[in-house]
Amino acid sequence: MMEEKRDVEARVVVLSPNSTLHPKILFKQLVGANLKSPVTVKENCFGLLLEGERGSLEEALKLIRKADEFRIFSKPRGFPPGDCRICRADRGGGPRPGFHQMEMEFNMLPAVGEALSEMKAREAAGRELIKRKIPASEVARLVKEELREF
């Protein structure tokens, strides 16, 4: 059996368009951080690219999310930061793989952040946000009301 490889992965950190933070602020937060193992950080126009061991990345994410919990989003990334195989400069321009989806989702982030923060606020207030079971009579009443409007 081969020895298991180090669990290294890359992550994208995206700042929501309604965030008041700047990628440089997040970058500086990580530069002085005392993480379990080193993390490579690359600043870019929409946030940061991180690379390191999974445990350290989780730690780094927790740290930067403290600044603005509901306006900082993150997902794993396939290629390491600065990889020439998908670098636009090396490939002769054009969007890098995944750019179109990122652009599409970027515009939805303010609403997603708002939904998450509303949910947390309601949970804190001890109210149930989504009722799992609505009685049939209530559904019938709502449908009738809707139909009356037409």
């Binding site: 290294v8 992965e9 890359a10 994208v12 995206v14 989003f73 993150s74 997902k75 794993p76 990334r77 396939g78 290629f79 390491p80 990889d83 195989r85 998908i86 793989p97 995944g98 750019f99 179109h100 989806q101 990122m102 599409m104 989702e105 939805m108 982030l109 303010p110 609403a111 997603v112 708002e114 939904a115 998450l116 509303e118 949910m119 946000l129 989504i130 799992r132």
Partner: protein, 152 residues
């Protein structure tokens, strides 16, 4: 540690983020791609998809299915294999680019439904209000999974 959640589109930032916030592990295509591109044996840059992939895809689709579909299924199929639950967005506008194969997408959703794992199907949101409802429903679904897990 929470459950492994298959998300569709498998490279979605929003879905991956929400799943992680709820304490589960999202099964994203980036992790699979990361595994391929970090392999020391790079035979076919940039994504290292070789002629082996369509062969591996035979596990998920018949031989008469085009090799492009089988190649994609060789990357995305293992995600479905590991999945313990799934969050699926119907007709997402952004399911193009490297996810551009409609037949692969259909096949993936078929594999998920055939597996019989807890799955939530949601429509792609068209405005802010729909986006919020989508988020609330996903969070509710994921929190419900935790409950099931505890009962077991």
């Amino acid at each position: 540690v929470g459950k492994k959640i298959f998300i569709f589109p498998p490279n979605s930032l929003i879905l991956a983020d929400i799943v992680e916030r709820c304490g589960h592990e999202p099964l994203t295509s980036q992790r699979e791609i990361g595994r391929l591109v970090r392999d020391p044996d790079i035979d076919s840059p940039p994504l290292n998809i070789t002629s082996d992939q369509p062969r591996k895809g035979l596990k998920y689709a018949a031989v008469e299915v085009p090799s492009g579909v089988r190649g994609r299924l060789a990357v995305f199929g293992p995600l479905v294999d590991q999945a313990e639950a799934a969050v699926i967005i119907r007709d997402p506008d952004f399911a193009f680019g490297c996810l551009g194969c409609a037949r692969t997408n259909e096949m993936l959703i078929h594999l998920v439904t055939r597996k019989g794992i807890p799955t939530i199907f949601l429509d792609y949101p068209r405005d802010e209000e729909e986006t919020k409802h989508m988020v609330w429903r996903i969070v509710d679904f994921l929190n419900g999974l935790e409950g099931d897990h505890d009962k077991d």
